[in-house]
């Protein structure tokens, strides 16, 4: 169990003023079997007019609008997460989560994935757990972490063909391979200890448990992770989605800081 202080900051800067801006944000972690969120503050600017809702995957969605002219938009989410409360999240029965067994446009395998999949020879293994571990191990050996070569819309097939990418690509490829093997699995967006960008990993369904795998770092998901949202692929977990009126270019800055809070011991009274 860990106590993690987190800050999630996103800022969009537009090259000119925009208006009639409507947005939906999935940037707020919530309590689950793994984590408990405390002392959270959420600020959305320029107008803090938001409604809150839960999507069908259980993710918190903040949505709202800014009608006035503005040239920047963003949010600051701060709080404390107590993580590692359990080793896994309890899962629904298979017939209820069947949707996670099927490929999406983002994970649909092509020739390259098929070839890669055949080389992995997953039939060697019996359990979903062993298969997922083999997929993760395979990716850590054959896929390179490189920023800037892929983007938000890159599919797993495209990323695998290129041979490099970021955490989103690792996750999509792993989802694609698990689904080819009939393993229900979902995409997870969240934060990890350290400073930098947000993170993404995979959960596979096994025996009514959701088990977290982080193919980017080749490790099982533990108490250094804070989960924000999950879905079939990255499209279900978009941190910010919006439409507005204006002919502009935009720059997105994301900064995530997660550090462990060390409870100070009781000062001795010797």
């Amino acid at each position: 169990m860990k106590k993690l202080q987190f800050g999630y900051h996103m800022k969009l800067t537009f090259s000119d003023y925009v208006k009639n801006h409507r947005f939906s944000l999935k940037c707020v972690p919530h309590d689950n079997d793994l984590q408990k969120i405390e002392n959270m503050s959420v600020e959305v600017y320029p107008d803090n007019v938001t409604s809150e809702d839960e999507d069908s995957y259980g993710n918190i969605t903040l949505f709202g609008y800014t009608n006035e002219l503005h040239n920047s938009f963003g949010f600051d989410v701060n709080g404390i997460a107590v993580t590692g409360r359990e080793e896994y999240e309890k899962a629904d029965e298979l017939h209820k989560i069947g949707i996670f067994k099927y490929q999406t446009p983002k994970t649909k395998p092509g020739l390259r994935t098929l070839e890669y999949y055949q080389k992995l020879d997953l039939k060697r293994f019996d359990s979903a757990l062993d298969k997922a571990s083999a997929i993760m191990e395979g990716l850590s050996n054959s896929f390179q972490y490189v920023q800037g070569v892929t983007n938000m819309s890159t599919t797993s097939e495209e990323a695998l063909t290129g041979g490099s990418g970021v955490c989103q690509d690792y996750a999509h490829i792993m989802l694609s391979l698990c689904r080819m093997e009939g393993i229900p699995c979902r995409y997870v967006a969240g934060m990890m200890m350290g400073e930098g960008l947000s993170h993404a990993w995979v959960e596979i369904w096994n025996d009514r448990k959701w088990l977290g795998f982080d193919p980017t770092n080749y490790k099982l998901v533990g108490d250094e992770y804070i989960k924000i949202s999950n879905g079939r692929d990255s499209e279900d977990c978009l941190v910010n989605q919006g439409i507005f009126t204006g002919n502009v270019t935009q720059i997105q800055d994301i900064n995530v800081v997660v550090e462990e809070v060390v409870d100070e011991g009781i000062v001795g009274i010797n």
């Binding site: 409604s51 809702d53 069908s56 969605t61 017939h95 209820k96 949707i99 079939r232 989605q241 439409i243």
Partner: protein, 452 residues
């Protein structure tokens, strides 16, 4: 079975000329009223008249009573199914429907999971397509639960026919069908959560724009397009001509799920309303029909509808499906391959008469290719026995000609299930064709339900 010949006296039949003349007059009026549907061909929008044939399809009182009972049962079961699929999914758990028919198709919308729409109704307006075989038996061919269109055509045709040929109706004991608007209004009011009722149209370039405007006029609902509606503070508002905002409680939306809300569905939709789906989820507006119904009107799911009736209602299905085979099941695959020539094959992802092929009409090479495709994608197709349709007469240049026809019956789920005592009868103008869809050049008839 009452036919045109039974109900019209010999003298009237001798005077078919008059009926023909009546047909012309009604078609002229329909054109004046703008009763058209639009189609896109080669990227061009064209409006076509929907040819009307004056000879009605006639359904006996007893026969309609039977259909009515069966239709209500079917649509009630379909609503149970949609509620279950977006809820506990018992029908999948119990193995009645294999999970891939739900999750691998495009009809199931995961965004709708867990939603309980107002009053628990998903399919408020259902258009059930039926055909009658030569032996008089009726078969359901399709359940249309997304945004079935067509009710406006017999509505206005009846109104104009009564005006242009009042004698035609004298002493014929025909159920009045001009109550559709009242039934629709009752259905919309039943789920309205407080506020105005709006019919949402994609605009005048939509295939069914005539219907949208006509139903708005007849029900007294506002006809609106996406930019006249706005979500604010968790509620939906209609912006009137003066800029004033009025709360909306029910939207009969005639735009498809994927274009309804760019924040949840297709991001490039410019005809939708941002965040309408979020507030619908909160129960702050009723959407008619509810999003996600596609899961129940997939051609693959059609096979399971009689099983749904048994499963949810514990009743024997009153209406039959056309005999259907699912190549997904090995036994059915074997039957389909062996009896290929007497079957019609339908691609489950297609609609509007597209993706329908007759085994007997393929060349031997086409057959080989099709069978290969069937084996590699067994879930993609259903196969049906070709039903020997009962022909219905149409009048062409003073001559009576038999043509294939179907019937779209409208079932409305208000405070109780209601079946409209009429319906849209579509016929194929081509004598060799079984396909009656208006987008494929068919015409339509009024449907008379006899009251005694």
């Amino acid at each position: 079975m009452t036919t045109y010949a039974d109900i019209f006296s010999k003298k009237e039949r001798v005077e078919d000329m008059e009926i023909y003349a009546g047909s012309e007059a009604v078609n002229e009026q329909l054109a004046r009223y703008g009763v058209k549907f639009g189609i896109y061909k080669n990227n061009e929008f064209k409006e076509q008249l929907f040819p009307f044939d004056m000879i009605p399809r006639i359904i006996d009182k007893d026969e309609f009573t039977y259909l009515e009972k069966g239709l209500k049962q079917r649509v009630v079961a379909l609503n149970c199914f949609i509620n279950d699929i977006y809820g506990d999914k018992h029908i999948v758990r119990d193995g009645i429907i294999p999970e891939e028919f739900i999750y691998a198709g495009s009809g199931y919308l995961p965004q709708c999971d867990g939603i309980k729409p107002p009053k628990g109704i998903y399919a408020h307006i259902a258009g059930i397509d039926l055909v009658q075989a030569k032996d008089g038996d009726w078969y359901v061919l399709e359940d249309n639960l997304r945004i079935p269109s067509g009710a406006s055509y017999p509505m206005i045709a009846r109104m104009i026919s009564r005006r242009s040929s009042p004698d035609l109706f004298t002493g014929k004991h025909v159920e009045d069908n001009r109550n559709y608007a009242a039934m629709l209004r009752r259905t919309m009011d039943h789920v309205n959560v407080g506020g105005h009722t709006v019919i949402l149209t994609p605009g005048r370039y939509n295939a069914a724009y005539f219907e949208h405007s006509y139903l708005a006029e007849k029900t007294g609902a506002h006809l609106a397009s996406g930019h006249e509606l706005i979500v604010e503070n968790d509620h939906l508002y209609f912006i009137d001509y003066s800029g004033r905002k009025e709360r909306v409680g029910a939207v009969y939306r005639r735009i498809s799920d994927e274009y309804l809300d760019p924040m949840t569905f297709r991001k490039d939709s410019v005809i939708g309303i941002p965040h309408i789906f979020d507030i619908y989820k909160k129960g702050n507006v009723a959407l008619i029909n509810a999003p996600g119904n596609g899961v129940a009107d997939d051609k693959g799911i059609y096979y399971f509808v009689p099983k749904m009736v048994k499963y949810y209602l514990n009743e024997e299905p009153i209406l039959n499906n056309a005999p259907t085979y699912l190549p997904y099941y090995e036994e059915d695959m074997k039957y389909v391959l062996e009896n290929f020539d007497k079957l019609v094959l339908k691609d489950v992802a297609e609609a509007g008469g597209y993706g329908v092929v007759f085994g007997s009409k393929m060349s031997s090479e086409e057959k080989v290719n099709f069978k290969e495709m069937l084996k590699s994608e067994p879930r993609r197709f259903i196969a049906q026995e070709v039903i020997d349709f009962l022909d219905i007469d149409i009048m062409e240049k003073c001559e009576l000609l038999p043509r294939k026809a179907d019937l779209r019956a409208f079932v409305l789920m208000g405070d109780e299930p209601m079946v409209w005592k009429s319906g849209l009868t579509r016929f194929s103008r081509n004598p060799d064709s079984f396909i009656v869809n208006s987008s494929q050049g068919g015409g339509f008839k009024d449907t008379w339900v006899l009251s005694q």
